[in-house]
């Protein structure tokens, strides 16, 4: 299978941080069944730092890999730092995505943003 690079396939094969966080501080839900991708991102925040992140995803290989990667990228990051993670950063961390799959990285960015918004709203 050479549609995806090695890194994508690694994260697809062995997705990191699968699951939910029962008492999450922020939850981001994006996508819908029509477009074929649904992502849920959970974060746990302590003193402005993301200490845990988990996901559940219905979607293609790229959707699963970007979900996995975004959880890896945010763990240990400050909220402000996490806010600056773009879809490109996620795609890059995966060694690139095929053009028709870039929308998955956008979805991951959106899920993250929503989870952060959710956290800030709850915290406020």
């Amino acid at each position: 299978m050479e549609v995806y690079g090695e890194k994508v396939m690694d994260h697809f094969r062995n997705p990191r941080n699968v699951g939910e966080i029962e008492d999450a501080d922020g939850i981001g839900r994006v996508g819908n069944p029509v477009c074929g991708d649904i992502m849920e991102l959970y974060i746990k925040v302590e003193e402005g730092t993301i200490v845990d992140a988990r996901f559940k995803t219905f979607g293609c290989g790229a959707a699963i890999a970007t979900s996995s990667m975004v959880t890896e990228l945010v763990k240990g990051k400050k909220i402000e730092e996490a806010r600056r993670i773009t879809n490109q950063a996620v795609a890059q961390a995966l060694g690139g995505l095929p053009p028709i799959k870039m929308h998955c990285s956008v979805l991951a960015e959106e899920a993250l943003r929503k989870a952060l918004d959710d956290y800030l709203q709850k915290a406020a």
């Binding site: 299978m1 939910e20 069944p33 849920e40 979607g59 293609c60």
Partner: protein, 395 residues
């Protein structure tokens, strides 16, 4: 993926390997009988003979006359030429075309092109099994209708359409009937007069022939305007130097496919039903797409709820099993399969569809291997699916 491992190939609806006898038959036409059939000299005429005897063979195998067969570059060209060729030839008689919502993109996109150029197209619905109602065809016809195009068998779900019944409605009105038989030729009986069609498209690589060669059958007397303009080949209905090895290979592959059809269909149907039954036994919330009986022998299309098709496919591929998602392979669009949508499937089910297409060499052990591997893949993907979670909670 380990390249040396034997792959369980269950993607025959996408393409088939060239049969060894077909390949052998083609070989001399690359460098021995290599002349240009349009050249008057000896090498040219020997190549021409090969083309003409392939044409006779193909014609007799589908119950046509040799002059009713045009060789093309594949199913897509045949579909384009049929639709556009008739549209152009008959546009003074009318500008209305009837087709179905479940056609291959080669037909649908040709229709969209024609819509941009003054034609109007009716896209007929199908029922939950993917079947077109001949009554719907009847209602759609107007005095402006010049051609009706309904595929013989569907490439995604394998459903076989009642072409003969549709022909009885369409043809007495002087309207042409075209059928895309790309998925059916070589697999189930295809006889142009029994189907009652005026035009028929087919492609070699779907029945163990070479890629890049197809045919259009055009009933003698049917109006048709050339699509590829140039030299005088194919009685001026399709220009370009003949693909001699391809044409010879097409004919040989069809000969072999027709000779072994009954036996093969029986064997494949048995394995198909074993796969369907096995999946249903082992996996919950599975839906078989397409008609349970009126389907191609080799087609298994099922929707596995809560998981997405591509990720299933990739996981199967990692285990050495090659299949397809139900939806168009390279589709750059995010929309679910137009076929499954037309059959009324909700998007999450059509995104979760898999197509296993069995072939001549598919073995029972391969089916069993799929049945051994698939359940745990589904389980793994469901475990990370937010949809499955919801379902579990709802129970």
């Amino acid at each position: 993926m380990d390249n040396t491992r034997k792959i369980v190939y269950l993607d025959h609806a996408a393409t088939t390997p060239v049969d060894p006898v077909v390949k052998e038959t083609m070989l001399p036409y690359f460098d021995e009988v290599f002349g240009n059939p349009s050249s008057l000299n000896g090498p040219g005429q020997r190549a021409r003979e090969a083309v003409e005897s392939a044409r006779e063979e193909v014609a007799s195998l589908i119950g046509a006359r040799p002059e009713e067969i045009i060789f093309t570059s594949g199913g897509t060209e045949s579909d384009n030429a049929a639709l556009k060729g008739v549209a152009l030839a008959r546009h003074r008689e009318g500008n209305h075309i009837v087709t179905t919502a479940v056609e291959h993109h080669a037909v649908l996109e040709s229709c969209r092109f024609l819509e941009k150029n003054g034609f109007s197209v009716t896209y007929l619905p199908v029922d939950a099994d993917g079947i077109v109602d001949p009554d719907d065809v009847k209602k759609a016809l107007t005095d402006k209708t010049i051609i009706v195009s309904v595929m013989h068998a569907n490439n995604e779900v394998g459903t076989i359409q009642p072409i003969d019944a549709i022909a009885k409605i369409v043809r007495p009105r002087g309207i042409y009937l075209h059928t895309d038989a790309v998925q059916s030729l070589g697999h189930i009986p295809v006889a142009v007069h029994e189907l009652g069609v005026d035009l028929l498209s087919a492609s070699g690589h779907k029945f163990y022939g070479p890629k890049g060669v197809g045919i259009i059958f055009i009933r003698k007397g049917a109006k048709f305007a050339s699509f590829l303009h140039g030299g005088d080949q194919e009685r001026r209905r399709r220009a370009s130097t003949h693909n001699v090895p391809g044409i010879v290979g097409f004919a040989k592959a069809l000969e072999i496919a027709v000779a072994g059809m009954n036996e093969e269909a029986e064997k494949i149907t048995r394995l198909r039903d074993r796969l369907i039954a096995g999946i249903r036994e082992r996996i919950s919330d599975v839906r078989l797409n397409g008609h349970p009986e009126r389907r191609l022998p080799g087609n298994v299309n099922c929707s596995i709820a809560y998981v997405e098709g591509e990720s299933l496919l990739l996981n199967l591929d990692m285990e050495g099993i090659a299949c397809s998602t139900g939806s168009a392979c390279t589709s750059s669009s995010l929309e679910p399969s137009h076929v499954l949508s037309a059959m009324g499937l909700p998007p999450e089910l059509s995104h979760g569809s898999l197509r296993f297409s069995l072939g001549r060499n598919t073995a029972a052990e391969e089916i069993d291997y799929v049945l051994a591997v698939l359940p745990s893949i589904v389980e793994k993907l469901r475990a990370i699916s937010p949809l499955y979670k919801k379902k579990v909670k709802a129970q």
